[in-house]
Symmetry: C2
Amino acid sequence: MENFNFYSPTEFVFGKGRAAETGSLVKKYGGTRVLIHYGGGSAVRSGLIDTVKKSLDEAGVPHCELGGVQPNPRDTLIYKGIGLGRNENVDLILAVGGGSVIDSAKGIALGIPYNGDFWDFYSGKLPEKALPVGTVLTIAAAGSEGSGNSIVTKEDGMLKRGARNDILRPKFSIMDPALTQTLPAYQTACGATDIMAHIFERYFTNTPEVEITDRLCEAVLLTMLKETPRVLADPDNYEARANIMWAGMIAHNNICGVGRQQDWNSHNLEHELSGLYDVTHGAGLAVMMPAWMEYVYKHNVLRFCQMSTRVFGCQMNFENPEATAMEGIHRFRRFLKSIGMPINFTELGAKEEDIPVLVEKLGIGDGKRAGFMELDRNDVIEIYRIAAHASL
Amino acid sequence: MENFNFYSPTEFVFGKGRAAETGSLVKKYGGTRVLIHYGGGSAVRSGLIDTVKKSLDEAGVPHCELGGVQPNPRDTLIYKGIGLGRNENVDLILAVGGGSVIDSAKGIALGIPYNGDFWDFYSGKLPEKALPVGTVLTIAAAGSEGSGNSIVTKEDGMLKRGARNDILRPKFSIMDPALTQTLPAYQTACGATDIMAHIFERYFTNTPEVEITDRLCEAVLLTMLKETPRVLADPDNYEARANIMWAGMIAHNNICGVGRQQDWNSHNLEHELSGLYDVTHGAGLAVMMPAWMEYVYKHNVLRFCQMSTRVFGCQMNFENPEATAMEGIHRFRRFLKSIGMPINFTELGAKEEDIPVLVEKLGIGDGKRAGFMELDRNDVIEIYRIAAHASL
């Protein structure tokens, strides 16, 4: 196990009806003027925005608002939010929505107190200051409600880049599983895929002797395998929604990833897909993650056998460990298909002939990308090719 | 799943040599005058106290000290610490040691700003204020480095009572697994037992549909089953020590216990044992926990089967689920024996004829204790009797 720091100071307020506590939580964490940030119409139509505003009004906290966050949130709206927030003198950003809204809110929180272009922090600059962010979560997926991460897309060129720092961890996150019951099945499944991907990217490591985090990773994956089909069969299954929602936070606040080398190559390879085609991140991951696995499993066959046996319930084939490794990957892809995810470029709406563009945007050049298995330009091309043609 | 709040704002600083960062962490969390609190001679002899003092000196933070914390930490020393801390005007308590030292430090942290007897908080009064506590952990066991709990013994009558509040969560905890390498095997095993007990007390619940926390609980237990024998076979096994140390934090910061009813009866039954005989808490738990299991398993046989199959690797006996439940309990007790733990009163140094005294101190009266299975006076007597006579 490697040395690490772990700091997750977010207060999680979990359960039915908790959005009514928004006002008191904002005050608890020092908010006196709030920018409410949200996405499309669903948060408005469902009455959630009204609930939140009522709670703020009751707490005597003035607020302004900025809606319109799109999936793969854009820098353009963040600039608008920074301007609005400065004009209105807000001191807390309240994200009401999913990962895109929260990530956008984090961008605004970074930009308001900064004398410069907020994009600097998505180009490698280390942030030192950000306004506090609170969240009211409406989809289990990105884990941004508990993470110090934010992923934003530069509209000019559709460049998708991330910032990561503990100061970006929300002060509080309200997590009401009932709010996710109205999600379309496709969005629910995309979220579940994202959650599982967040685990796999921590699971495949070259760091030896990390049993506790291995087991925690497997705990989250086993939960997702059980609960995802249940919510797809019955969208109103509150209990299954609740298990997925808490699993989604645990999958990305890094409690499952400390003390070990991680591998975010498949996530980054996907970012170019959702950047170029504006597809849902989870759907892109369903295509890329098993493709990446197929390409790299030979780097450590027994680690894949561990996944296959502990997570996917395979019997270990001691005469042919590779078969066990491949069987686990196959079962993963079959699971993804069963929950309605695309498994290749065609189903996703991507094109094989765009692979050179994807590789170009990834900016790999002649270098190598570190990870579970080091990847160079040719490796990346090969993984995209596997993804293009994958089938059951 | 039940509604819950989860708030774990401690910064964990994990790995080899991290105690040298004490001074900068104290400053980061606002400490300007520190009371160093520790136990017996080992923290001094090992040079750890010197390392800590040097780090504080380098950071320009003045300090005073109070050693002598015993296992089952006493109120008498806490009163002394409160007096010393007030005289010296300290604003942060630095616990260097294990659970007893940290729990004692939390008592001092509660007492210094309080105009009254700190014992009030161990008699049900809700604390509103406490000095910040930092820790340098030397044994994986109590989980107090990440929890809002503190258990203290009133010397007059050896009454063991607890306080619990999020304000008691340490600001930072330095966790260097190498510091645990010099522990005697018996203390290591007692710590491992305590960690497993913290999980079982969350695992046995009447709350349905808590798959994610069930799986996380099982993850910690599986880790302990693997790593504990390894550190006993080779005390210098840093990697196994590291896995146990992080597991110990996770077992008690409540990430594995949110949203579910918990059952702390076996812990409380044990507290009377260690209170009366001054035995190590973990050793008492090794005797009480399987005895409690044997008495209550019929309340929900299939939940015990889940433990037996998922944690102890039993094959499910579908014709006789009770046999599977009992087999898991048997394997747990066999595991405890294998790591050198006592499994009955005689091995622990307790006496069956004291059972009435234990029950009296527990203060159960004619009432019932809530939990996985409600327990009245007769139930408690029966559990103590099973514990008295247990064998493999």
